[in-house]
């Protein structure tokens, strides 16, 4: 598992990368009440705002961590956005991406580095 400074986690699954937000981020956001997901097939560029999350408190964006294609989204979140709080590392995943080269993930933090970041 890799982590971004924006508190996303990235998990390699075959030739895809699954993306979600960390427990730290989910707790900080508060109760999630709405998730707007991208369409599958969308080509995204690193830094694109591709998911909108609304908690009871505020709206936040999830950025594309790397360039690639959105090949799957967790449609369950549309009806049950609370999954982001209940199981952020599992059932609360957002989307799966196909990358040209998984090696780009090497730039991201491992678990120890992320744990140090959030102190």
């Amino acid at each position: 598992m890799k982590y971004t400074k924006e508190h996303e986690w990235l998990r390699v699954e075959g030739d895809l990368v699954v993306v979600g937000i960390t427990e730290h981020a989910a707790t900080a956001l508060g109760d999630v009440v709405f998730v707007e997901l991208p369409e599958t097939g969308t080509m995204v560029t690193e830094g694109d705002e591709i998911v909108v999350i609304e908690s009871v408190k505020a709206a936040s964006d999830i950025l594309a961590p790397v360039d690639g294609e959105i090949v799957a989204v967790n449609a369950t979140l549309s009806d049950n956005p609370a999954l982001v709080n209940e199981d952020p590392l599992g059932a609360g995943w957002f989307f799966k991406m196909k990358l040209d080269d998984l090696a780009v993930l090497d730039q991201f933090m491992d678990e120890d580095e992320y744990t140090a970041l959030i102190g």
Partner: protein, 368 residues
Amino acid sequence: MTDLQRLPLHDLHVALGGRMVPFAGYEMPVQYPAGVMKEHLHTRAAAGLFDVSHMGQVILRPRGDMAALVAGFEAMMPVDVASLPEGRQRYGLFTNEAGGVLDDLMFANRGDHLFVVVNAGCKAQDIALMQAALAEVAEVQPVTDRCLLALQGPAAEAVLDRLVPGVAAMRFMDVGVFGDLWISRSGYTGEDGFEISVPDAAAEAFVRDLLAMDEVLPIGLGARDSLRLEAGLCLYGHDLDQVTSPVEAGLAWAIQKVRRAGGAREGGFPGAARILRELAEGPARKRVGLRPEGRAPMREGTALFHDDTAAGVISSGGFGPSVGAPIAMAYLPAGLSAPGTAIEAELRGKRLPVTVCDMPFHPTSYKR
């Protein structure tokens, strides 16, 4: 940047896991570990305890007779102060010459004086206003050594009556003194409940006694906001401000007949020309409830459109945990204010359907 003030119970909030944020010049708990959603739903199901000690508590003590104080206070508001019996509380609004709202407040007749509770953000302004307007008839005495708590929800009566026998007999907007506690049956959630002024020195023990009861959870500002929004109640600075009249805000119910055209004490308050005209002719715009289609919350500042023409802006909005859907309030032209009117809101570059609806969004349960 001015330094933030701390609540007398600051350390207790931190010990309870409260996440402290700046609000109206104070460090306030926005939520506790349960989170906004659970805190909101718990208040509607059992009892929630709020620390609202940031609000301004003020005693108006007459220099001579009460009648002069009452007349002076009435001259600040389009509200009937004179008929308020001892032991009762009423909602009031300070208005300006343009008919806008300077603050909304609660005032109580406590026999030989009035007790006023004002918004934290307007406290300094309100005290100065009252000192200027009432200089000859009253001493304006800010109460600075007492906490203000709110206990809200269907279990509030049973819970508080265990600690303070007798409060169960109070009705909505009654006030009473119970030992060193000043209690009113009122609140800001749409639920039955009480607001309790307690001396600082006794506050922590009192709060711990309340929190020791199974029904009671501490509730932060986040849920306070979603609860009042569902109840259709205005938040000053958002749904009310110096350019918005009480009539536009749907608060004409707070302007009793006696202060209206033809009443025995007609007018005589700041902004009377506009407010009386709007009462007679209807205001040009009105505060309305909105139900966005879908699940995306629409927050303050969201622009509204009708037939591609700008129609207004959301003044408060978010997710209503008890409604289970997004809800909002906005000001719209009177012609678009009828429940059922279809308009659009612009969210992240898209126009989304929104329907004007009645308020409250969640039924109130005051004990009248």
